[in-house]
Homo-oligomer: 268 residues x 2
DNA sequence: TTGCTCCTCACGTCACGTGAGGTGGC
DNA sequence: TTGCTCCTCACGTCACGTGAGGTGGC
């Protein structure tokens, strides 16, 4: 007996449905197992048969999965009548938080990579030293700068001409080492060599601080007063070094160590 | 007998170390279990005792974990002498891919949310319809536009004045519905009402296409020729509707349906 | 009858969270 | 001695991947 078969009678075996949907058989097994998509039919031998409405539901599931929803959320959306706006809104919020964290992390990684490039054959302990330094500097900077200033330091726009992806390579450690060498050698601060170093330090600082004098000043005080915390045990005479560089910049000025701050007050 | 205890002899019980490191006891158990951080000592009763070098290693682990490294990668970095640049470089690449995908997803979600807001009490099937429409339009647009044009459509900069976070609300479906109503009612295309609709459609299209005439033209052809694929079964006479709107824009021009394309050729 | 597809367990993933049931240390 | 801390299993998470061992269907 020949029966008319229209499209509504069409069924698919699990392998066929997997093929046309681009999923794996295991995935369809899984959806059956958790009750998300149970085929309407089975053969006598227990083989799954998917009817058209099953295929439709599968495509809905795939579409919603493409929005980053969890299978449990998809099930709810397809069975109860929750407001999809609530779900998507929550999804956007979660995603936004993740994206921000990811972007920050990528910046840190890029900065570390650039700093590692100054070493010839960087090791894990070079990396660890840099991470520790970064953490120490950030903690200290948070004491000396307002949250807004921190924000500006972190989200500095690249110069129009500069390649956007390449992070600013931090030259400051190398420059401070050069300055220390001159200081130890007893070179006069008005010596052109020292003045050149001071100038380069100012340029690098300005690049980092976005040219904000408030920030530059606060950062200088930070190094003078608490540089030891960032490089503990190195015995670098930070206060003297900063003053030495100040003398290189302004040969005629009196140089009292200034102790007043424009940054937020200490809290203990 | 009093023994001199210097810092090198200091040991911590697991709870103490957890407290000062901000981790949980379970986490330290886990690190011990997988051999990432095994305490140097145990009491007679089997309680873990962490020596200073253990604490140091823990802080290294925490620092590296903060870079998004997996525990297995951290172990390698701390035990073998792999180049940290390779690891961080790979990390940056992975992260970049994820961030791109995440940003695209967030845009899609935001666009869907905005479109859902046009409905009063949107349901899951409203959402599914929109998703299906979006997919259909994107597939079709990929046929009519070059990859560069697609890119520009996707990464359009917001207007200087507009709020950056809010996605452009797509007005086009509503406008086309109005146009269809006038068309069905037999309104003359030179009627000011129809001309106003056509103008608004042009403005909305320009906003979407970034004012690129090539893109606007390709998109118009797309709707005229294949609009049916995006709204299957609605019976909207797309070709006639697009021509009707063209007559509203240019009352004096002859209007042959044009079939030439500037977009990439079809492939079958 | 021979392949090929399908079936049902069941373990593994990653970094822990969360008990359960029992013992050590001040 | 009483709490508190610590111990060792062991299951659960999320969405499947990857076999193992066996049977159905053209």
């Amino acid at each position: 007996m020949l029966v008319h078969m229209n499209d509504d009678d069409r069924v698919w075996r699990i392998g066929e449905l997997a093929q046309i949907s681009g999923l794996t058989v295991r995935t369809l097994h899984h959806y059956d197992q958790i009750g998300l998509l149970c085929p309407s039919l089975r053969t006598g031998g227990g083989h799954r048969l998917y009817a058209p409405q099953d295929a439709t539901r599968l495509y809905e599931i795939v579409a919603l999965r493409g929005l980053g929803l969890q299978l449990e959320q998809i099930r709810e959306l397809l069975t109860t009548d929750v407001d999809p706006r609530a779900l998507l809104g929550e999804q956007v919020r979660t995603l936004t938080v993740q994206l921000k964290a990811g972007a920050r992390l990528r910046e840190r990684l890029a900065a570390l990579l650039a700093a590692l490039d100054t070493a010839d054959q960087p090791t894990a302990s070079d990396l660890l030293g840099l991470v520790q330094q970064t953490v120490a500097v950030e903690r200290l900077a948070a004491e000396y700068l307002s949250p807004e200033q921190m924000e500006r330091l972190g989200h500095r726009r690249p110069e129009p001409g500069a390649p956007a992806a390449a992070p600013v390579k931090n030259e400051l450690p190398r420059l401070y080492e050069q300055a220390l060498a001159e200081y130890d050698a007893g070179t006069d601060p008005v010596d052109p060599v020292v003045r050149a170093i001071a100038e380069q330090i100012d340029e690098a600082s300005a690049a980092l601080s976005g040219g904000d004098d408030q920030v530059t000043g606060a950062v200088r005080r930070m190094w003078a007063e608490r540089g030891e915390e960032v490089y503990p045990g190195t015995g670098i005479p930070w206060a003297a070094l900063v003053e030495y560089l100040d003398r290189a910049r302004h040969p005629n000025r009196a140089h009292e160590p200034d102790r007043c701050r424009t940054a937020p007050e200490d809290e203990q």
